[in-house]
């Protein structure tokens, strides 16, 4: 029977089977498993049926804990039910997983295995999450490749129904979940053949039903619990045979044969690696290579890890085995060994001690090692190093491979040049930008080659840690043999460089093998390209005899209306020069792919792409290569020489893409990193940057306020401070009454700017001669770069405006002068969140402690290599930490509790040492008014005096009896300066997963400030709906348009009566925003600010984000208000509406946003109905708020 050959990634493969074989699906987004839920939601929205002809019910939950609970309920009520998750999400499911297993309930959870957050979060892949769930009583089946994901999803589903033991179907996050592979698609008939309908009905028959009532979930006592727990044993004992039998049936049906432990290698192997997950494929590939070169090695691929069948494992080993290395993709600190290693040892040990179980295999040595944590590369070179280690008389146990451990010396050395790539495989690397469409084109190329030729195809994509100006590197393999290389290409025979600017920063030819083809997108004529290349590139081209092709793709894109999308142009070039397909056929296939990809977006888009393809080949040239080096250009250093040592030695290596080479000793052991590192990473990603016109500028500060990346700053300085100003440094007379004799300057960090244009859009000052030009306007960056760098450096050296110089920092105009302590983050260009975050940093950053929920703000706030939280000239700045997604409010409350306790203790010590300190200082410290900047400054000075005094007393013999309280007070004195606790996160946290905690923390009455950056979706994971998503908006998990209205979080919290609540939108009323932030912080109790944050996931022109904020308010959708409980004490209404009645229709606001518009384009009737309902609700809510404001 022939089955369709498709090119999909692991997530789609798993979701396909899961969707077909389930009735209820509970979902929640978490990287890297989110796409499985997205597929399920999309298929359900499209009305696609499952095996039984009904459309599965897909329900998004508020957390993974919620998803597991819903699954548990659905299972107990007799449905086939599943979910998808990873990492922390799996941890949240564990309590329910114990229950589901304890009740012997059939289900499969599909897991894109991911690293757990420990010293740091990591989105990448390893087995630490699933290993944390190994005690739950679930069977664990590991798929090693995309094909196996599809196969094992079905095998697991069939086996769970038969065994009644629930299954975790595990595959490696990113490496498998996101790897695109050509695979054979299982058919519905395959699924029907494997899934026993009687077992489905039996599952249903075990369900709760009032027609045949029973109870399940009793509380048991010491008398019976133990025995009942043991009663399930027969079910677990049966699992291995059931799985094997299912695999055998699958093999008969489909032709692919699997075993619980699959051995590959020499029948007489002496050295064997035991491993599970995608790394097993690389090991198998290496084993084949080594055996072909005279070695005797093998690999045992563990499929069913739980229940661990010792007998099956032992049987899988070749009798000749002498040495075994067990590789675990996780770390269990303090354990005797990692989980798989322990199981293998146990199996071998039990065989040794139980004569009846003895096997032929009797290895002399078994060692365990760790590899591949957080998607660390696992290559044939490392695998060979493990085999080499096994050959030693006393191999290293508890080793690591793939890193250099210069602390405990656990690591195995390996030869990085060892390579086993097959010469008949095309290995292509593409360097591109997210914005240029490189990855999308490559995914299409894989489809073309995979589905239209007999070749096998594989694609894996490496993305940036930044959301703006993101670099992508695509690794594509095509060849006549199945591809098992689960690692990046290290020897390429084709390298495409889609961005000329990359030559400044990256050595992209290292991976080129001799004779490789290099394809360039160059803004130069072919005869000038050679001279423009940097010297190291010329050297490699000559040394490796590389062939060079070039095209000015941006020019072709410009001429064909493609803008910055050079994807189809470069794709056409790839096919033309790589020869993977005949040219004409390739072009026909590219056009077919364009039609398929873009057809539904309209003929104009298709036509534009066609024209780009047609215009390409005439502009593609081979570059003549001279026989000598002509360039003197070299790579720019990743960081400037004045950067601090840690940045030079560690951060710079990461920026340069050499983080893999950093030894263990270079990294902090506890996850503590220095602040203020983003300033050293000059990314130069903007094509255009803002330029200031001092003659037009009114010095309002709006551009400074809205700049998401803190690249526009202003200072007011004495004229004499500018005496040594560099040429062209612009200043104007300061337009402040209080500072009339001073000079004002506004500067742009051109190397850090993302070119978002928000500043230009908000600038209210227009040139009187040229109305289209404002006080801030955009100009090409490249010509401004050098001078801009000089000006910026000079600007930074100018004195900051003192925080207590008489100016009240209560308005936008004055606040622009406060140094931002959040700068140059990796947020999207034009981000709507970061202006609020920056404002917090300006107003309170020098005394702020920040708890940050996982999400966009934790990623642009804390993702290495460089981080944006910064320090002021005195070395003070926000102290920032991220705990988890779900616990952020509680995490922040803990900080508050600690500070309150420390305050209590410090003040008690001040009282106790009053005689030593002096009553005046003690009273001043204890009674200090810290409600103003001047008050805080005075307290800082008192604390400095106190510390100096205490240090002095500490040394005096007379004070010896008081040494302990003196030392304690010294360690705590800093908390006598008022601390500002901020709890920051997005709507996914505040409205959904963290809502319970948020409610509790706000209700606690403690002095915390909560800032909700409300983008109305889970932005960081790609725009899934949250309870903040508005009625009628399309989002992932709400593909048919959200059918329920947004939760009114502010209103709910106002009900408590003692919580300060404000709803703000900077673009609509920046003065109200500032007022709300100041009031919230000054309120000695809980405060909540809900901030409208426009977002890339809204589908808007990000440059007009602030306009959208204004329209949101003007339409009444987003009323601005403040609820200040202090006003009640003054006999006033605590609720103040800060905006006028709706003056534009909701339609006028929403139709600027693709999230709404696309529903009108896809389901106009539904969209109109939801809009009418939404408009009605907006007006009703407005009326309710008006009544509140009227008291």
């Amino acid at each position: 029977m022939s089955r369709p050959l498709i090119t999909v990634d692991g997530n789609e493969a798993a979701a396909y089977v899961a969707y077909k074989t389930n009735e209820v699906i509970a979902i929640y987004p978490i990287t890297p498993s989110s796409p499985m839920g997205e597929w399920a939601d999309q298929w359900a929205a499209e009305g696609q049926p499952n095996l039984w002809g009904t459309v599965p019910l897909v329900q998004e939950m508020q957390s993974e804990g919620g998803a597991a609970g819903a699954v548990h309920g659905a299972l107990q009520t007799g449905s086939l039910c599943t979910t998808f998750t990873a990492s922390q999400g799996l941890l949240l499911m564990i309590p329910n997983m114990y229950k589901i297993a304890g009740e012997l309930t059939s289900t499969v959870f599909h897991i894109a295995a991911r690293t757990l957050a420990t010293h740091a979060l990591s989105i990448f892949g390893d087995h630490s999450d699933v290993m944390a769930a190994r005690a739950t009583g679930w069977a664990m089946l590991f798929a090693n490749s995309v094909q196996e994901v599809m196969d094992f999803a079905l095998i697991a589903q069939a086996a769970t129904l038969r065994s009644r033991v629930p299954f975790l179907h595990v595959f490696d996050g990113f490496r498998t979940s996101h790897e695109v592979m050509k695979i054979e698609q299982l058919t519905e008939d395959d699924m029907r053949a494997l899934i026993d309908e009687e077992l489905v009905r039996a599952h249903r028959a075990r369900a709760l039903s009032p027609d045949r009532p029973f109870i399940r979930g009793t509380a048991q006592n010491p008398d019976v619990y133990f025995q009942a727990r043991e009663a399930a044993n027969p079910f677990y004992r049966a699992v291995p045979d059931i799985v094997q039998a299912t695999m055998d049936r699958f093999a008969r049906l489909v032709g692919r044969s699997y075993h619980l432990f699959d051995y590959e290698g020499a029948p007489d192997a002496e050295r064997v690696i035991v491993i599970m997950g995608s790394g097993a494929e690389a090991v198998a590939e290496t084993v084949a290579y080594l055996n072909a070169h005279g070695e005797k090695v093998g690999v045992v691929k563990v499929r069913l890890f739980r229940p661990f069948s010792a007998s099956h494992f032992l049987a899988s080993l070749p009798p000749t085995v002498e040495a075994i290395a067990v590789l675990d993709r996780c770390k269990e600190p303090g354990a005797a060994g990692e989980p798989l290693y322990q199981d293998v040892l146990t199996a071998l040990g039990e065989a040794h001690f139980a004569p009846q179980a003895r096997t032929a295999a009797a290895p002399r040595v078994v060692i365990g090692g760790r590899y591949g944590l957080s998607s660390k590369e696992f290559t044939p070179a490392m695998i060979k190093a493990v085999f080499d280690e096994l050959a030693k008389p006393q191999p290293k146990n508890h080793f690591t491979v793939g890193i250099e451990d210069d602390v405990c010396h656990s690591s195995l050395a390996y030869d990085p040049d060892f390579d086993i790539e097959s010469p008949d495989t095309t290995r292509a690397i593409f360097w591109g930008l997210g914005a240029d469409g490189t990855v999308g084109a490559n995914k299409n190329s894989i489809k073309i080659i995979g589905e239209e030729t007999p070749n096998y195809a594989q694609g894996y994509f490496v993305y940036d840690s930044k959301k703006s100006g993101a670099r992508t590197v695509s690794h594509l393999r095509f060849g006549p043999r199945p591809i098992r290389s689960t690692y990046l290409i290290r020897k390429a025979n084709f390298i495409a460089i889609h961005q000329w600017g990359f030559w400044e920063r990256y050595d992209m030819l290292t991976a080129a093998e001799e004779g490789a083809i290099i394809l360039l997108n160059a803004p130069y004529p072919p005869d000038q390209v050679w001279d423009q290349l940097p010297q190291p590139a010329q050297e490699q081209i000559l040394a490796k005899k590389l062939k060079l092709y070039t095209i000015d793709a941006y020019e072709v894109a410009r001429q064909t209306g493609m803008g910055v999308r050079i994807n189809t142009i470069m794709q056409t070039c790839f096919f033309a020069v790589s020869g993977v397909l005949p040219r004409d056929e390739a072009i026909a296939q590219i056009k077919h792919a364009i039609e398929k990809t873009y057809g539904k977006r309209g003929p104009a888009v298709v036509q534009k792409n066609f024209e780009a393809v047609d215009a390409t080949l005439a502009r593609l040239y081979e570059v003549p290569i001279p026989d000598r080096i002509t360039s003197t250009k070299s790579l720019l250093p990743p960081v400037p020489p004045e950067a601090p040592p840690f940045v030079q030695e560690v951060t710079a290596r990461m920026i340069a893409g050499e983080g893999d080479l950093l030894p263990v000793s270079a990294l902090p052991a506890d996850g503590t990193f220095p602040s203020a590192t983003s300033r050293w990473e000059k990314r130069n990603i903007a094509l255009e940057v803002p330029v200031w016109d001092p003659d037009v500028c009114i010095q309002c500060g709006k551009c400074v306020l809205v700049c998401p990346h803190a690249v526009i700053r202003s200072k007011v300085v004495a004229p004499e401070a500018l005496a040594d100003a560099p040429a062209g440094f612009l200043v104007a007379d300061a337009r402040w009454k209080e500072l009339s004799h001073m000079k004002y300057t506004l500067q742009v960090a051109v190397e850090d700017c993302t070119g978002c244009r928000l500043c230009v859009e908000v600038c209210p000052a227009k040139n009187k001669q040229i109305a289209g030009r404002k006080a801030i306007h955009m100009m090409p960056q490249a010509p401004l770069r050098q001078q801009g760098r000089i000006h910026w450096d000079y600007f930074l050296r100018l004195p900051d405006v003192p925080r207590s110089n008489g100016l009240a920092f209560h308005n936008v105009k004055n606040i622009q002068l406060l140094t931002p302590l959040f700068e140059f983050s990796g947020a999207c260009a034009g981000c709507g969140e970061t202006p609020y975050v920056k404002l917090v940093s300006q107003l309170f950053g020098d005394r702020a402690i920040i708890a940050n929920a996982t999400g966009c703000s934790s990623i642009y706030g804390g993702n290495l290599p460089t981080t944006p939280w910064s320090v002021n000239g005195e070395g003070r700045g926000p102290a920032w930490s991220n705990s988890l997604f779900e616990d952020n409010a509680e995490f922040g409350l803990g900080m508050r509790l600690a500070l309150d306790k420390q305050w209590d203790y410090a003040t008690a010590l001040v009282q106790a040492l009053r005689h030593l300190i002096g009553p005046d200082l003690a009273d001043a410290l204890l009674q200090a008014d810290q409600s103003t900047e001047a008050g805080i400054l005075a307290q800082r000075r008192r604390v400095a005096t106190l510390k100096s005094l205490l240090q002095q007393k500490q040394a005096e013999p007379a004070a010896a009896p008081l040494r302990s309280p003196i030392t304690d007070l010294l360690s705590l004195a800093d908390v006598l300066v008022k601390r500002s606790v901020w709890i920051i996160g997005g709507d996914g946290w505040a409205y959904d997963i963290g809502y319970g905690g948020l409610d509790h923390v706000l209700a606690s009455g403690r002095n915390v400030n909560v800032l909700v950056l409300d983008t109305e979706v889970y932005s960081n994971t790609g725009g899934q709906a949250s309870k903040a998503t508005p009625l009628g908006a399309v989002a992932k998990f709400a593909a048919g348009g959200k059918a329920t209205p947004k939760k009114d979080l502010g209103r709910l919290m106002m009900e408590y009566g003692y919580i300060y609540v404000a709803q703000v939108a900077m673009g609509a009323n920046d003065a109200q925003t500032v007022r709300a932030f100041l009031e919230a912080e000054s309120y000695e109790g809980p405060a909540l600010i809900i901030a409208y944050s426009h977002c890339i996931a809204h589908g808007i022109d990000m440059a007009r984000g602030m306009d959208q904020q204004r329209l949101a308010v003007q339409s009444g959708y987003w009323p601005l208000y403040r609820y200040d409980p202090r006003l009640r004490a003054e006999g006033k209404n605590p609720f103040q509406l800060d905006c006028k009645a709706p003056s534009v229709s909701l339609r006028d606001y929403i139709m600027n946003e693709a999230r709404y518009r696309m529903l009108f384009q896809s389901h106009p009737d539904v969209a109109e109905r939801l809009l009418a309902e939404a408009q009605k609700q907006v007006l009703e809510r407005w009326q309710a708020y008006e009544r509140l404001a009227a008291g």
Binding site: T31, P32, S34, P35, E38, D41, Q42, A45, E46, I123, F174, H178, L433, G434, A435, G437, T438, V439, G440, F461, Y463, D464, K467, A470, T472, R565, Y598, K600, R601, G602, P603, A604, V605, K608, K766, A771, C828, I859, S1019, N1020, T1021, G1022, G1023, V1034, A1035, K1036, A1039, I1096, A1097, G1099, I1100, A1154, R1155, R1157, M1158, L1159, Q1161, S1162, H1163, P1164
Partner: protein, 339 residues
């Protein structure tokens, strides 16, 4: 009872009032209301190729923007499978309108590319439109472009569409040609079955507070019909084609004047938008009454009766007319206001 029926583009109309392209004909309900109100035919809102392209490109842009850049968010929207970014919705409106009403349905098309004009014209015909109005406008801002080149562009569109469809074609043009009469003649020669005079453009305005150019649409005033009235009067009988007068038709007298000038039909939008579609019935009643009072039997009888070739003073439609109007103008018609 006077006979109000007329012929336009080979179609028999129960009366000469056609609802011209406006928001009133955006929906099936709107079209039904126009029929119920008494309209002789309906010109649907224009299918703008440029708008279709723009919507298509916007959709593509926002579905693509920010994608495949960051590991955790490789896209930001679900794939909804299909989007009505092409002409599908418009064509469906034609199909549904044809099934729902008895009066002729005239499609309207504004293209930007040769391919677009041809393809969409064919689509509109296939959807069942009784006729097609080509809404051609082009603002020639390029100083290097000659009037002849602009005219040739218009003619090519008509020729291309004529070759593509068999349903009648009307061409709606602007008055901004050096030789309007010649242009009209050549359009008919190129294959137009009728001419719609004249198109009105959105004229930009300035917002002085924001120093921005803002699009500005004002509803037509009765004065606006003078220009097409004049040209139809001039062209009637000289060019063998049907005429539709559009712009500034607000009252029954406007309709009568248009027909007397030589128009087969008038097109109305502003009056209906401002005062409701019931105005059609009122105007028809008033028109009948006037015709009865003035003993006109039919629209056909009136048609062209005051065209240039039929009036006593043909020169009144030419330059002297301008001079005469100026000469008859007084700042205050009462003559009583002090200077």
């Amino acid at each position: 009872m006077p006979d109000l029926s007329t012929h336009y583009l080979g179609l028999h109309l129960r009366n000469p009032i056609i609802a011209s392209s406006s928001p009133l004909s955006y929906t099936l309900d709107g079209i039904r209301r126009l029929e119920d109100a008494g309209c002789g035919a309906v010109v649907l809102c224009s299918l703008f190729e440029e708008q279709i392209n723009l919507e298509s490109e916007l959709l593509d842009h926002y579905l693509t923007y920010g994608t495949e850049s960051f590991s955790e968010a490789l896209s930001y929207f679900p794939d909804l499978g299909r989007y009505n970014v092409g002409p599908g919705e418009y064509l469906e409106l034609i199909r549904r309108a044809k099934a729902a009403v008895d009066i002729p349905i005239i499609g309207s098309l504004n293209g930007v590319s040769t391919g677009g004009w041809i393809e969409y014209a064919r689509n509109i015909q296939e959807a069942g439109a009784d006729a097609l109005e080509l809404n051609i406008y082009y603002i020639p801002t390029d100083p290097a472009m000659t009037g002849a080149a602009v005219e040739e562009m218009y003619l090519n569109v008509v020729r291309d569409v004529r070759r593509t469809v068999h349903i009648p074609i009307a061409v709606k043009i602007s008055p901004y040609f050096s030789a309007t009469a010649n242009m009209c003649y050549r359009l008919v020669a190129a294959g137009a079955d009728g001419l719609v005079l004249f198109n009105r453009f959105y004229q930009p305005d300035f917002d002085l507070e924001r120093l921005e150019v803002v699009p500005h649409l004002v509803l037509s005033t009765p004065f606006a019909m003078r220009l097409p009235l004049r040209w139809i009067a001039i062209l009637y009988g000289r060019i063998k084609t049907d005429f539709a007068l559009t712009s500034g038709v607000h009252t029954y007298t406007d309709v009568i004047k248009a027909i007397m000038a030589g128009a087969n039909v008038v097109m109305m939008a502003s009056e209906l938008l401002a005062h409701g579609v019931r105005r059609v019935g009122e105007i028809l009643d008033e028109m009948r009454q006037w015709m009865e009072e003035h003993e006109y039997e039919s629209v056909a009888q009136m048609r062209g009766s005051m065209s240039q070739i039929h009036v006593a003073e043909p020169a009144a439609f030419e330059r002297a007319n301008y001079m005469k109007v100026l000469g008859s103008w007084r700042p205050d018609p009462t003559g009583m206001a002090p200077y």
